[in-house]
């Protein structure tokens, strides 16, 4: 399928997914729709809702694209935290996956049919 201007194909200004320019590496499934070129979407569950993700997306990226910015309450003061450093250095983005973890949402790849939960571990001063 020929490359096409995905920004033109995704007029929704609130859509945070930018499809990177196609690379001419042949047809990719899921080319149609506003996120063409990202492959075939799948879903996982987060905090009771269904979230769409594309192959290769991290949990944090998929949640951000779904409008979820607050990922967990901080341990002492329960202040909301989200993606901060984006590269695995700050540990603000912790979530649990299928009860396992915590994992850093900015690093861990989203996986189909997983249950991603808020990592809420209150701490005492």
């Amino acid at each position: 399928m020929p490359a096409r201007d995905q920004r033109g194909a995704a007029p929704d200004p609130t859509d945070l997914r930018v499809t990177p320019p196609a690379e001419g590496s042949g047809p990719v499934r899921g080319d149609d729709g506003p996120h063409g070129g990202r492959g075939t979407p799948f879903t996982f569950r987060h905090d009771g809702r269904t979230v769409t993700a594309y192959p290769g997306e991290t949990i944090g990226a998929a949640l951000l694209a779904a409008g979820v910015r607050a990922l967990r309450p901080s341990g002492f003061d329960a202040r909301p935290r989200g993606l901060f450093c984006g590269i695995g250095a700050c540990f603000d983005c912790l979530v649990t996956v299928d009860g396992d973890g915590p994992v850093r949402a900015c690093l861990a790849a989203a996986a189909p049919d997983t249950e991603v939960e808020v990592h809420d571990v209150p701490r005492q001063r």
């Binding site: 930018v18 590496s25 993606l83 540990f91 973890g101 690093l107």
Partner: protein, 506 residues
């Protein structure tokens, strides 16, 4: 001896980090005939600069596709990436991706590295292990080690900086380059340093409304140093390119301006832009509120020195920034026998410096292994040494251009968080210094827990040192003399079982 020989846990050479420095080091070593094992935490090589796209066609190929503009990113024809790819293909370089060194020690005859695998320690491990049997080797013994672990964004705290939607500029860039996701629909890019421009340009090209770029430094200070960088045409051209992109998108670039507060209900909804005086003190009455759903902040980068500290490498204070950096000699040799370091862990200079340092570290490591003689070390290294000197000098000039003023501490409120992990606020840090007699970052940590959390002070260390100096009136302490972290990354319990039994997930 090669990575494929009888004992896969014993190899001649390990490079930690597959960014520009690590790739250049691996290539230089491999070209002397030494088999190289490269370890990197990420699923794909490239580091921060050549961070590959992880989504869509061509996913996983370092440097193939950059951010939508190509701004501040590696390109497909980068010679280091091409050479690295070649050595991977012919098997002279063996890459173990999604592999993090979480602990290490130097002994007679080499170093022992302890590894954890998976994108994140609890995720994706089984799949990786099945695909690559030697992934499960949790120990690696190497005769020589080259450290190329890079840097993280430097962020100075401000009220509301812990709100979701406030992120590092590097993080925003990584999301865009790696994931094709923009951090928000309307953003400000703020902080200081040349990195703000490519990030703002990339976001604007990706469709984000960039309400402003706020550069804390005064334009006059930058202009004063400008003649000294005019000779570096490539960099000047690159900078002008970003300026053109920003102009096309009508993005205002404001100097002597900072984000001095962020506010919102559960996430950032507005930021306060404020003028700064020459010392970076906020000027009262100049506040301007701007509605945003993202604020991307960076004041440059802080070298990652956890691994070299564990190996016993001496650290020194960066002459421009004061950050602890690995001390190396002209061969990129640390004070520990057969341990070399290159790239931003030895001081922030950008990808161009990192590759020269990497190449020199690779050659010196090859010499240490007896693969090349001293004449070859000298001759092959000569062009890299010249280039390194020129580029390091340029990086130092840039650093001075953006040298920060001490007045930024005045934008902190008493309840502004300094340590995000342990949730220690400004008033507590000040109290530790003025009432409890804390004299350096370490004593602040012991009295307040500031810097004791998961991030190992990577997010707050620099700010705390500045606050100690500010509140005590003493010059900033020598941060190179700080305590070493126990582990570099979270590890699974079974990986820990062999070691300190008292470690618990904080």
């Amino acid at each position: 001896m090669s990575p494929g020989s009888a004992d896969p846990t014993r190899v001649p050479a390990v490079v930690v980090g597959a960014g520009p420095a690590g790739m250049a080091a691996a290539v230089a070593l491999a070209e002397t005939g030494v088999p190289v094992t490269v370890l990197d935490s990420y699923p794909h090589p490239g580091g921060q600069y050549h961070r590959p796209r992880a989504v869509g066609p061509g996913a996983g190929r370092a440097g193939v596709v950059a951010a939508p503009t190509g701004a501040g990113t590696g390109t497909g024809d980068d010679p280091t990436v091409a050479a690295f790819r070649h050595h991977l293909a012919v098997g002279t370089v063996h890459l173990r991706s999604s592999t993090t060194v979480w602990s290490a020690s130097a002994e007679e005859g080499g170093c022992t590295l302890r590894l954890t695998t998976g994108t994140d320690p609890a995720a994706g491990t089984a799949a990786h292990a099945a695909a690559d049997p030697d992934r499960d080797a949790a120990l690696l013994h190497a005769e020589v080690v080259i450290i190329a672990t890079g840097a993280t964004d430097r962020v100075l705290p401000f009220p509301g900086w812990d709100l979701p939607g406030v992120c590092t500029a590097g993080g925003a860039q990584a999301l865009l380059k790696g994931q094709g996701i923009r951090v928000g629909t309307r953003a400000v890019v703020a902080g200081s340093g040349p990195f703000l421009l490519p990030v703002a340009a990339a976001l604007a090209e990706a469709g984000t409304t960039v309400a402003a770029v706020a550069e804390a430094q005064h334009a006059a200070v930058i202009a004063r140093a400008a003649p000294r960088i005019a000779g570096h045409l490539d960099v000047v051209t690159e900078g002008l390119g970003y300026a053109r992109v920003l102009a096309r998108h009508r993005v205002p670039v404001r100097h002597a301006t900072a984000v001095t507060a962020a506010a919102g209900d559960g996430r950032v909804e507005e930021v306060t832009l404020q003028r700064l005086d020459e010392q970076w003190r906020p000027v009262p009455g100049t506040e301007q509120r701007v509605a945003v759903d993202a604020a991307c902040v960076s004041f440059g980068f802080v070298p990652q020195v956890g691994l070299p500290a564990l190996l016993g490498c001496a650290l020194t204070s960066d002459p421009v920034w004061g950050d602890p950096v690995v001390a190396v000699d002209s061969h990129q040799h640390t004070c520990v026998d057969r341990v070399f370091a290159a790239g931003e862990s030895t001081g922030v200079g950008g990808a161009a410096v990192a590759v020269e340092e990497g190449a020199l570290a690779g050659l010196a490591a090859a010499h240490a292994l007896g693969a090349i003689d001293v004449g070859a070390l000298r001759d092959r290294g000569a062009p890299h040494r010249r280039s390194r000197a020129r580029k390091q000098a340029f990086a130092a000039t840039l650093g001075r251009m953006y040298r920060r003023g001490d007045g930024w501490v005045h934008w902190l409120a008493d309840d502004t968080l300094i340590c995000r992990c342990e949730e220690v606020d400004h008033a507590s840090v000040r109290h530790a210094v003025t009432a409890l007699g804390a004299v350096d970052q370490r004593s602040v940590k012991l009295t307040t827990r500031c810097g004791m959390g998961r991030c190992q002070a990577r997010m707050c260390g620099d700010a705390v040192a500045a606050l100690v100096a500010h509140h005590s009136g003493a010059p900033a302490d020598d941060r190179a003399a700080l305590s070493t972290p126990t582990v570099l990354a979270p590890v699974r319990l079974r990986e820990l079982a062999a070691l300190s039994p008292e470690y618990e997930e904080p």
